[in-house]
Structures are given as C-alpha cells and as structure tokens.
Subunit: 264 residues, 2 copies
C-alpha cells in the first residue's frame, strides 16, 4: 500500500533530503538514487530500493512494475507531490521517482579477483563525476570493478551514481586504505600497473597480465611516489602538449582499453 506524504515538513521528507549529504549517508548507511532509468538498472541487477518515492500523477508502466516489485520485497512506497520530490532531490525539474538503497559491503573481501581480467583502482580520487565515469568504464571493458584507495569521493553520491550510468549496481566496488589494499593484492595473483611518468615504459603493447589492476592517482597530485614504486609495471602515455597529464578517468579508460587488447 502506498503511503501518501503531502507536507514539506514531514520527517520522512527531511530524512530523504538529508541523504544528499555524505555525513548523513554514512550515518544511515543508505543512499538516494534519482530517476526511473537508474532504478531500472538497479532492478535489472537484482537491487531494489528499500523505499520508493514517486511523484503522484506521473504514471509509467515500468514504474508500476517497479512499485510492485518493491512491495513484494517488503519495501515501502511513498507517493508525494512533484514539489516535494524536487525538494528531496534538490533538482528544479524533479524526476518521476527516487529510491533509497542500503549501501552494501565495499570491503576488499567482497571482491573475487578471479572474476575478471581487469580491475580499476583509484587513489584519493576527489571528483564524483570521475568516479562514476570509472565505474562506467569498468562495465564497458568487462572489468571486475573499481577499488577506491584512501580518501576518495563517495561512490554513493548522486553525482557518482548518475555518472556511472547504473554501473555502480553492476560492477564490483571496494574501498580500502593503501595499507590494506597492498597486502590484499599481494595475497593472490595480480599485476599492479600505474599510469606514471617515472621510470615508465610505453603503455602501448606493454606486458600486461591478468588479473591486471590499473591504478590512477589523485586529480591534482597523481600517485604518491612510494605507491608507484610498489607497482609491478609503470606505463606512460604519449603527452604531446603543454601539460603532462590527462583527466584521471580518461587515463584509466585509455589504459583499460589497452590492457583489454593485451590480455584477452
């Protein structure tokens, strides 16, 4: 049964709105996903929201099916006004629907490195758009997923989820400190490859080996030198211009496609 909310000051509205803030997401272990398309991606990947929030009077066959699935799974469905949904999402043009998901286990132990020949890893990645784009690239190249090392942007932020085009639901995701990641990596098979300018070989045709972990660094600082030096292979891409770096998500993708050609 739908629950109807018509008041802006309803505590549920306040709670849902608070999920736009990282601090509140961390406290509650939940995050908000906007839009039918992303919710459909989640459903197709076997993930349903705990709570579905729909704008009344915006019917859609996919939305009806989603509502039914959420109810069958024991979730909550809230019907509200487009204005209140706008208030929750912070968007002037509200989506038809938003969903609240429980965050899931993002420890390294939740990953199986044998799942895929390629993995992406990012260290201190600050931009949620870059983070989401890297998740999307993981999906495209058939990578197992993205490992976020040290303090990165929140993969469950609205911007990261949106930029991932739903890949946050379909590819692996882990968060770890470097001093957890490196022992985990060395506890099994795995080649760690850094995009680097130091002591590096040409990225094209380098000796990549599966499972290959491609590591990119922070948008401003790049990788710390000791992280680079801990890698099995340092590769560099041609830089013909004035600058000496690429956007982090771009560098990861160019390398991932090269590795894909090399290891498959």
């Amino acid at each position: 049964m739908r629950k109807h909310i018509t008041g802006f000051s309803n505590p549920t509205v306040k709670y849902l709105r608070s999920l736009r803030d990282k601090k509140h997401r961390k406290r509650s272990g939940q995050f908000l996903v906007e839009g039918l398309r992303l919710l459909e991606d989640a459903r197709a990947s076997g993930r349903l929201p705990q709570t579905l929030v729909m704008a009344e009077g915006r019917e859609h066959p996919l939305l009806e099916r989603l509502e039914a699935d959420v109810m069958v799974a024991g979730g909550e469905v809230i019907a509200t006004t487009p204005d209140i949904l706008s208030k929750i999402t912070g968007k002037e043009n509200a989506q038809v629907v938003a969903g609240v998901f429980d965050e899931w286990d993002t420890s390294l132990s939740a990953l199986d490195r044998g799942d895929a020949p390629i993995w992406l890893a990012a260290q201190a990645l600050r931009d949620p758009g870059n983070l989401g784009t890297m998740l999307r690239t993981c999906d495209a190249v058939g990578a197992g997923g993205l490992i976020l090392i040290d303090d990165c942007a929140d993969p469950f932020s609205a911007e990261a989820v949106r930029a991932s085009m739903g890949a946050v639901f379909t590819v692996g995701l882990a968060q770890a400190r470097w001093d957890e990641f490196l022992p985990w990596l060395r506890g099994g098979a795995g080649q760690l490859v850094a995009a680097s300018l130091r002591d590096a070989v040409a990225y094209r045709g380098a000796a990549y080996a599966a499972p290959c972990f491609i590591l990119v660094g922070n948008e401003s600082q790049g990788l710390p030198e000791d992280y680079e030096m801990a890698c099995d292979l340092r590769v560099t891409m041609p830089m013909r211009g004035r600058a000496d770096s690429l956007n982090a998500a771009v560098a990861g993708a160019v390398l991932a496609y090269e590795v894909l050609a090399g290891v498959m």
Copy 2:
C-alpha cells in the same frame, strides 16, 4: 594603477558576477577565469585578461608579474576584498585572483587543419566537464583542437575552462552547425571518423588517415544516424558489459590515442 573596490553593490562587481551566466557572457563577449594557475596557463599561451581582479593581502610573485603584464598591455587591475571576490566567483573559498578575457573567434575559418594530424569534434555535447576534458585530451594527444557541432555546452563557462586545465587557451576551438561543418570539412583533406555501433569496424588498427577528425555524439542520444553515415569511417570499441556506451569524453580519448598510434 590598481582600482580599489570595497562595495558589494559596485556595478563592476555586478558585471563580473554576471559573467557566470551564459546569457551575459554571450552579450558581452567576455568570460571569467578563476585562479592563478589558469591565468598563468593563459599568460604562457599569450593571452592576458582585459581585467584582473585580485583579493587584497594575498601577494604572490606570479601574481605580481601577471599584474605588471596586464598593466603593460593596457588592461585594468582591480583590488578587492576576498569576500567580494567570493561573491564574483560564487565560490565559498575564493581564489586569489580572477581574470576577465575577451572571447575569441571560434569560427571554422580560424582553424588550420594542416596544423595537426588529429582533431576532436563533438556534437551536441551538453556537459561542460566533458567539454573541458576533451580540450585537455586535445592538448595531450597533440590534436589541433576541438570542434563543437550544433548546440553544445559553453566552452567559456567556468566549469569547462577548469576541466580543460588551461587547454582552452592552447588548443584550437571552433563552434559550428553541422551544415557548416560538413562543407568546411569536405573543402579540404580530412577523414571523418565516428564512434559508432552502426556498420562499424573495430577501432583498433582501423585505417586512420591524417588529418583525422574524431566525432563523438551527445551524451544521451549519441550521433544522429545521418551524421554517422556522412562519416568516412565508423569504428566501434569493445563493450563487454551491460551498457553499450562510454562517457563521451572517454570515448573521444580512447579513439584519439588509437588514432595517434595509427597516424604518427
């Protein structure tokens, strides 16, 4: 001589602030660039701001040199408070400095296709971050520049300029409708290559020829079919996942690096 502004309601403050808005940028033909690093990139590329706006009490040797250069070139230097600079840029943590530049000629006739073996082109690209990232990629691969086709994001927006990491000042930039672009392209040498899923060959090792124009489409819709069919070559990248597309800037970069390996 520095002009001092201490009032929030000063007309110059209002004017500078208005440049955050595309409509006002188009009307005035000027845009605002934030931060010493970008202004230094501009200076190194031979472009100086018409107006330099500095936060008082934030001295820096590079800033002193920039101020001197702007004065010699007949520009205006405004000293103001950090709070007013914050108001102008809309950032809570104001940069030390911002500069106002005249937009330049972005017609196709300003480009010389013989300048470079690679060019990027984007159709209806909506995201200023993607646009700036593509400019940055142009710099990295030694491309001549970026051609924006149909209605794209504004390359002179703060977000595009920032994502370009200064490349907006160093690589070529043109804006044109498709029905201007195609005759211009066919008026000289040039291979038009689309990232495509239709009737496409594998992107890797395809027969690229310089000057090669790499065309990517809108973030949601991709390229219109007739645009793709007007291309000399349609190439496709492996898509191993659930989705059938990459981020537009990522797709452009993966292709650009492949073309770079093929044509150089």
